[in-house]
C-alpha cells in the first residue's frame, strides 16, 4: 500500500497562500482537491471562506436547541418547584405564576442558549483534542499555514513544487501510513 503524507507549508502572507489554493483548484496537483486543504492563520481573514468554499457549521442549531431547552426546562423546573410546595400560603394567587415564570424562563433561555453555543463551538471547532504535529508557533504570530491532507508519493513532490512556486517559507511533512 502506497504511503500517504500530510504536508504543511508556511507562507508570509495571505496572497501567496490563496494562490496555492487557486493552484489546487486548477488541478495543478492531480488527485488533490480543495477539500483536502486547511488554512491556518493568525487572524480570521474574511476571504478564507471564499477561497476554500463554504463549509457548514452547526453553531446556530446548537444555539437554537439550547435556547429552546432553556425556555421549556426553565418553565417546567419552576412550575415543578412551585407545584411541589403547595404548603406555602398562596393568598389566593395561583400556585404556578405564569408572568413571573416567563421572566425566569427567559433568563434560562439565554443561559442555556449560551451554554449550548459554547458546547457546539467546542465540538464544531474540534477543540480539546490532542494537538497534531502540524502546528508552528509562527501561525500565531504572522504567518499563514496550509495543510494538504493525504497525498501519495507522486503528489507529494507536486505539492512541494506548488508550495515552492508561491514562495513557501518552510515545509513540514508527516507520513500517515
Amino acid at each position: 500500500m502506497a504511503q500517504q503524507h500530510r504536508i504543511f507549508g508556511l507562507f508570509a502572507d495571505f496572497e501567496q497562500a490563496f494562490e496555492v489554493v487557486a493552484g489546487i483548484r486548477k488541478y495543478e496537483v492531480p488527485g488533490v482537491t480543495v477539500d483536502d486543504v486547511r488554512i491556518k492563520s493568525p487572524i480570521e481573514h474574511p476571504e478564507i471562506e471564499d477561497v476554500l468554499g463554504e463549509r457548514p457549521t452547526n453553531i446556530t442549531k446548537w444555539a437554537f436547541g439550547g435556547g429552546l431547552f432553556g425556555l421549556v426546562f426553565g418553565f417546567l423546573f419552576l412550575a415543578g418547584a412551585q407545584a411541589n410546595f403547595t404548603v406555602q400560603p398562596q393568598g389566593g394567587k395561583p400556585v404556578i405564576t405564569i408572568p413571573s415564570n416567563l421572566v425566569l424562563a427567559y433568563e434560562m433561555l439565554i443561559l442555556f442558549g449560551v451554554l449550548a453555543t459554547f458546547a457546539g463551538f467546542i465540538i464544531g471547532a474540534r477543540l480539546m483534542r490532542k494537538r497534531g504535529a502540524f502546528y508552528d508557533k509562527a501561525v500565531s504570530l504572522d504567518q499563514i499555514g496550509i495543510v494538504i491532507e493525504m497525498v501519495d508519493d507522486t503528489q507529494r513532490q507536486q505539492v512541494r513544487d506548488l508550495f515552492a512556486k508561491h514562495k513557501v517559507i518552510d515545509v513540514f511533512e508527516e507520513t500517515v501510513q
Binding site: A12, D13, F14, E15, R38, I39, K40, S41, P42, I43, E44, H45, I48, E49, R55, T57, I59, T60, A63, F77, L78, A81, Q82, N84, F85, V87, Q88, K93, T97, S100, N101, V103, L104, E107, M108, I110, L111, G113, V114, L115, T117, F118, G120, F121, I122, G124, A125, R126, L127, M128, K130, R131, G132, K137, V139, S140, L141, D142, Q143, I144
Partner: protein
C-alpha cells in the same frame, strides 16, 4: 511619559491605530505588559488589598455582632448595601453590552479596548454579588435563594424580583465569563506559544488546543456572534430586573414604570465612565500608548456623553412624572431629596451626573488624560450618589409615619462600600497580569483591514493616473507587516 510628550501625542495621534505596526510587535508588546507593568500597578494593587482587608474586618465584625453596627433598621433595611449592589451591577453593563453591540455593528475601534471592558463586567458582577450575601446577615444561608429540592420545604418566592435577580445575575455572569473567555482563546494560544513554566501550563489548558485553522475560525466567528446576540437582551433584562426590585415595591418614588430604561441607561453611563477610568490607568500601567490611543478615548468619551444625555432625559422624565402625577407621598419624597437632609448628595448627583458630562463636549477635556481621568471618576461618584438617592430618601419617608427617620450609614457599611472597590481592583489587577488585556489577534485584524483599505484606495487613485505602479505591484504585503 512626560507632560510634554503626552501633549505632543495628544496633538499628533489622529488614527485609532497605526496600521503599519508589525504583527510581531503587537504580540511582543502585549506579552511584555503581562510581565513588566509600571510601578503604579503595584501601588494600585497595594491600595486594593488594603481596602479589601478593611472590608473583611468589617464583615467579621458584622458577623460577630450582628447587623446592629451597620446601623440598618426596620425602615432602612437595605441602604448602602443595595445602593452599592445596584452601582456594581450597573458598572458591569457597559463592558459586555457595548462590546457586543459594537461587535455587531462592526465598529473596529472596540478591538484594543473591549477585553478589559469585558473583564470589568465579570468582576463588577462578582463584586455586586457580595452585597446581597452581606446584607442577608446570615451569610452562610445564601444558597437558600436557589430553588433546590429540600426536605425542609423551603422554596424561594418566585414572585419576588429578588429571586429574579439571582437568576438574571447568574445567567449574566455565566454568559459574560464565556463571552470573555471565548474571545480570548486565540490570544491564549499565542500566550501558550510564547511562555514557559506555570504560564505555559495554564495557557495550554485554557487555549483548548487552538491552532487557528479555518474550521476553528469559522466556528469561532459564528459562536462569538451568537453569544453577542444572546448577551444584548440579557444585559438589558438584568438591569431591568434590578430596577424591579424597586419598581415592583409599593413605595413612594419607586413604583414607577420608567425605572427599567432609567436603570439601563444609568448602568451604561456609569459603565462607560468606568471604561474611561480603566482605559487611562491601563494605558499608563501597561505602557499601551500605541493601542489605547487618544482617538479611541475620544470616541468613548463622546459615547459617554451621549449616554449621559439619555440618562439625564430619563431622570428629568422621572421627576416630571412624579411632579405632575400629583401622588403626594412621591412628591414629598422628591422634595425631601431636593431640600431635606440628603439635599447635598442629591444636588451632588445632579451636578456630577447631569452637568459634568457637558465638559466632555470640549475637545481639550477629551484629549487631556489627567482631566478626563478626574471627570470619569466624578461621573461615577454622581452615579453612585444616584443609587443612594434612589434608595435612602424613599426609605426615610415611606407610607407609614412610624417608619420616618433619617439614617446615616455606619462605619461597617462604609467599610463594605470602600472594600468593594478594593475587591474589584484586586481581581481586575490580577486579571491584567495573568491574561492579555489587549486582544492581539483582533488588533492584528484591525491593522490588516485598515492597511488593506488604504492600499485599495491608493490602487483606485493609481488607476486614475494610468501607468503609475500600484502598491501591490510595488511588492506590498497584506499580512504580517513584519
Amino acid at each position: 511619559m512626560s507632560d510634554a510628550a503626552m501633549k505632543h501625542l495628544s496633538d499628533t495621534q489622529t488614527k485609532d491605530i497605526d496600521e503599519n505596526i508589525a504583527w510581531a510587535k503587537i504580540n511582543q508588546d502585549v506579552l511584555r505588559s503581562m510581565e513588566n507593568p509600571r510601578r503604579g500597578y503595584w501601588i494600585a494593587m497595594a491600595v486594593s488589598v488594603a481596602l479589601f482587608s478593611v472590608m473583611v474586618y468589617a464583615e467579621v465584625y458584622q458577623y460577630i455582632y450582628g447587623m446592629g453596627p451597620s446601623l440598618l433598621n426596620n425602615s432602612h433595611m437595605w441602604d448602602l448595601y443595595i445602593s452599592t449592589f445596584v452601582f456594581w451591577i450597573g458598572m458591569s453593563h457597559s463592558g459586555t453590552l457595548l462590546s457586543a453591540i459594537l461587535h455587531l455593528v462592526h465598529a473596529d475601534w472596540r478591538k484594543p479596548i473591549y477585553r478589559f471592558a469585558e473583564a470589568m463586567t465579570t468582576f463588577s458582577l462578582m463584586t455586586a454579588g457580595i452585597f446581597p450575601v452581606i446584607h442577608l446577615g446570615r451569610v452562610w444561608n445564601f444558597y437558600w435563594v436557589m430553588p433546590y429540592m429540600t426536605d425542609r420545604g423551603i422554596w424561594p418566592n418566585f414572585r419576588s424580583p429578588l429571586i429574579w435577580d439571582a437568576f438574571a445575575i447568574t445567567a449574566y455572569l455565566t454568559s459574560s465569563v464565556l463571552f470573555l473567555y471565548i474571545g480570548m482563546i486565540p490570544d491564549l494560544a499565542i500566550c501558550r506559544d510564547n511562555t514557559k513554566g506555570w504560564r505555559k501550563k495554564l495557557y495550554t489548558w485554557l487555549s483548548l488546543g487552538w491552532q487557528g485553522d479555518d474550521r476553528q475560525w469559522r466556528n469561532f466567528r459564528i459562536t462569538y456572534l451568537m453569544i453577542a446576540c444572546f448577551l444584548i437582551p440579557l444585559a438589558v433584562s438584568v438591569h431591568s430586573i434590578v430596577s424591579m426590585d424597586f419598581a415592583m415595591a409599593i413605595m413612594p418614588g419607586w413604583h414607577v414604570t420608567t425605572f427599567p430604561p432609567y436603570f439601563v441607561a444609568g448602568a451604561l453611563y456609569s459603565g462607560c465612565a468606568a471604561i474611561i477610568t480603566l482605559f487611562i490607568l491601563l494605558r499608563y500601567f501597561l505602557k499601551f500608548e500605541e493601542y489605547m490611543t487618544f482617538p479611541i478615548l475620544d470616541k468613548v468619551a463622546k459615547l459617554t456623553f451621549v449616554i449621559a444625555m439619555v440618562w439625564t432625559y430619563l431622570n428629568l422624565i422621572e421627576f416630571a412624572s412624579v411632579w405632575y402625577g400629583h401622588d403626594i407621598p412621591s412628591k414629598e419624597v422628591l422634595l425631601a431629596k431636593a431640600f431635606g437632609p440628603y439635599a447635598p448628595f442629591f444636588w451632588g448627583m445632579i451636578a456630577f451626573g447631569m452637568f459634568l458630562p457637558f465638559t466632555l463636549l470640549s475637545k481639550w477635556v477629551r484629549r487631556n488624560m489627567k482631566v478626563l481621568f478626574v471627570v470619569s471618576i466624578l461621573l461615577n461618584v454622581g452615579m453612585w450618589l444616584e443609587r443612594w438617592m434612589i434608595v435612602t430618601p424613599t426609605l426615610s419617608l415611606g407610607y407609614h409615619p412610624w417608619g420616618w427617620n433619617i439614617m446615616w450609614p455606619g462605619w461597617v457599611e462604609w467599610a463594605m462600600v470602600g472594600g468593594s472597590f478594593g475587591w474589584f481592583g484586586m481581581l481586575f489587577l490580577i486579571f491584567i497580569k495573568v491574561f492579555p488585556c489587549v486582544s492581539m489577534y483582533e488588533v492584528k485584524e484591525m491593522v490588516f483591514h485598515r492597511k488593506r483599505t488604504i492600499y485599495e484606495d491608493v490602487d483606485e487613485m493609481m488607476v486614475l493616473h494610468e501607468g503609475a505602479p500600484t502598491p501591490a505591484e510595488a511588492g506590498s504585503t497584506n499580512a504580517g507587516g513584519s
